[in-house]
């Protein structure tokens, strides 16, 4: 089965650092040979930089209302135009990206982290597995956004709410993937051997399981990231995401609907930024899968 080449068993016997260095290097090299990967990584770097550097690139409070400057079409003064409150859309898009990407990053880290721990436990303890998998079934069939909406609506709109609810909803798919991989890995002889000589479970986990599941996790992470960015935008758009005092791409679109005929640019730019981010993440995920697991890649 697919312990991908990047983490083939013989490599796992080395020290921890060595494992990760070898793995990362070869993956990175192969990734750089893939044009789609290069383009998507470049796009993500640009998007991240413009978000991080937003205060420098577009200084000033993006939410500052300026009634005199309403509905100015895109031009040299306002690259992306202004909205119904006279706010500069370029500024809003750059600053909004900070929220969107931050939420995406944090949700990915939290949900993947929990998924890895639970997945490892699930893969090793039969009883836990039965219960967890039924929970995952339940969560996966149900539309995550409805749960997140309910949760976010109940807890009140805030960054914490969005991160919490999206993290919970996005654990399920990753958990299933990690658990499947752990089930495969635990049957490997070296792990059987390590177990039989009494290597503590925790050490077993960090030294053998984690490196072996790192490839599918990496692939999954890009898709979770994209789902989280989309989820945040969706929740904020319907008004149960981050509060109206904060700024995100989804938030920026909420009011836009009412002015779509006067000022289509209010709709265009935040959405374009959102789509570009999701596209880059999806393409990165696809090419990571190509690089890490040719067997899986054929299936898409």
């Amino acid at each position: 089965m697919s312990i991908t080449q990047a983490t083939s068993p013989d490599r796992l016997t080395g020290g921890d650092e060595e494992v990760f260095v070898t793995t990362n290097k070869s993956v990175w090299q192969r990734l750089m040979a893939n044009p789609t990967a290069v383009v998507s990584i470049a796009a993500l770097v640009i998007l991240s930089l413009s978000a991080i550097l937003a205060p420098l690139l577009a200084p000033g409070n993006p939410l500052k209302v300026s009634p005199a400057d309403r509905f100015i079409p895109p031009g040299l003064e306002h690259f992306f135009g202004t909205d119904n409150l006279g706010r500069d859309m370029f500024k809003m898009v750059l600053h909004g990206g900070r929220t969107s990407l931050l939420v995406g990053l944090v949700v990915t880290v939290i949900s993947m982290g929990i998924a890895v721990v639970l997945g490892a436990i699930s893969g090793f303890y039969r009883q836990v597995d039965v219960v967890l998998m039924r929970l995952v079934d339940g969560l996966m069939a149900f539309p995550g956004i409805v749960l997140a909406t309910a949760a976010a609506g109940i807890m009140g709109p805030s960054m914490t709410t969005v991160i919490t609810s999206l993290s919970i909803v996005l654990i399920a798919p990753s958990l299933r993937i990690v658990r499947g991989q752990v089930l495969v890995v635990r049957e490997l002889q070296m792990i059987e051997a390590a177990r039989s000589v009494g290597v503590p479970t925790l050490r077993l986990f960090t030294r053998y399981i984690l490196p072996a599941v790192s490839s599918p996790i990496l692939v999954q992470a890009s898709f979770i990231f994209s789902a989280a960015v989309l989820g945040e935008a969706g929740l904020s758009f319907i008004g149960v995401g981050i509060g109206p005092k904060e700024l995100s791409w989804g938030n920026a679109l909420t009011e836009a609907r009412n002015y779509i005929s006067q000022a289509p640019w209010i709709v265009l730019f935040p959405g374009l930024a959102l789509m570009l981010t999701i596209l880059a993440l999806n393409l990165l995920g696809d090419s990571l899968r190509d690089v890490l697991d040719p067997r899986l890649a054929r299936r898409r």
């Binding site: 339940g138 069939a141 149900f142 609506g153 935008a233 319907i238 679109l253 709709v267 999701i278 999806n282």
Partner: protein, 314 residues
């Protein structure tokens, strides 16, 4: 066959109850008291306590859940706190819209996805295939609610082919209904159709390499039969599986779409009910979505069993 369906049914049970329990707990454990909200700022603590008793909110959480489950069995989901009307009467009004919207979107997604996937697979590595593959990647990355806004701008505001928002029930005539449901369904279905295109393409490419396709050709069957019956029969199965998941996503995506197009659906109702702490209505809404999905998934299992005789014997 019946045994198989019974087993599938047992597996579907958690998909009904896990979301319910989650939402039930969330509602009860979160701050915000529906009794207080209903009565407003001027209410005395006594009045609030009385209403809480009346609504059963003074009971322990597990007791409330047991009582609510009992209610489901007797088809009594309680009264909406906001509408002061039985939940069982409110839900169908909204659910119909959402189910119709999702159904139309699902049909659109399947038709678009299967067609493009087939065309793509038939023309592997030709320009048309590359075009479809690229479009599919773009489609997967397209946020529904943003696409909905773009559709409104192009087809409703600029071209004026469709109304900007609003809803006509099917009773109003198929054209009036279609005019209000088409854009929302298209917006809702676009990501899923892109996913299905990719699924159909890869599945078809796999199947075309199967020896039984060569056999069918070697028997002299015309290519239309080979593709339409022999290849489609097996290639469609992953798409059938995906359709269930797609419907789930769509019921979720429907929330934003209903708000954008001002459709009186379940998703919009839920967001409003959550905001009003209308516990019975939220729970009823979540239950409805769970049940719709459960029925749909059973239906898909049934189609699967018809398509693939092998699983009937497992």
């Amino acid at each position: 066959m019946l045994r198989y369906l019974f087993k599938r049914f047992l597996l579907i049970l958690p998909t009904i109850f896990v979301p319910l329990i989650l939402v039930f707990l969330l509602l009860r454990l979160s701050p915000g008291d529906p009794a207080g909200m209903m009565l407003g700022d001027q209410a005395t603590p006594e009045q609030i306590a009385a209403l809480r008793t009346q609504l059963g909110l003074d009971q322990p959480v597990w007791m409330q859940f047991v009582l609510w489950l009992k209610g489901i069995l007797t088809l009594d989901l309680g009264n909406s706190i906001f509408f002061r009307e039985p939940v069982m009467q409110i839900i169908p009004r909204y659910a119909t819209v959402t189910i119709l919207l999702t159904a139309v979107a699902l049909v659109l997604a399947v038709v678009i996805g299967v067609t493009l996937g087939l065309v793509s697979a038939m023309n592997r590595n030709k320009p048309i295939d590359r075009g479809v593959v690229t479009t599919a990647v773009l489609g997967i990355s397209l946020p529904e609610f943003w696409f909905a806004l773009l559709l409104i701008f192009v087809f409703a505001v600029t071209l004026r082919w469709f109304p900007v928002a609003g809803y006509n029930p099917p009773d109003a005539g198929i054209i009036a209904f279609g005019a209000t449901i088409f854009l929302p369904a298209l917006a809702l279905g676009v990501r899923q159709s892109a996913l299905m295109t990719r699924m159909m393409r890869s599945s078809m490419l796999d199947v075309l390499n199967e020896p039984y396709i060569t056999t069918a050709r070697a028997q002299g069957l015309p290519e239309t039969t080979v593709l339409g019956r022999y290849a489609m029969r097996t290639a469609a199965m992953p798409v059938v599986t995906v359709a269930g998941l797609s419907a789930g996503y769509m019921l979720g995506g429907a929330v934003a779409i209903e708000i954008i197009f001002a459709l009186p659906g379940l998703g919009r109702m839920l967001v409003e009910a959550v905001g009003r702490r209308d516990y019975p209505l939220v729970e009823g809404g979540v239950l409805t979505i769970s049940l719709v999905l459960a029925v749909l998934n059973l239906l898909i299992d049934l189609i699967y069993a018809i398509l693939d005789p092998r699983i009937r014997y497992q």
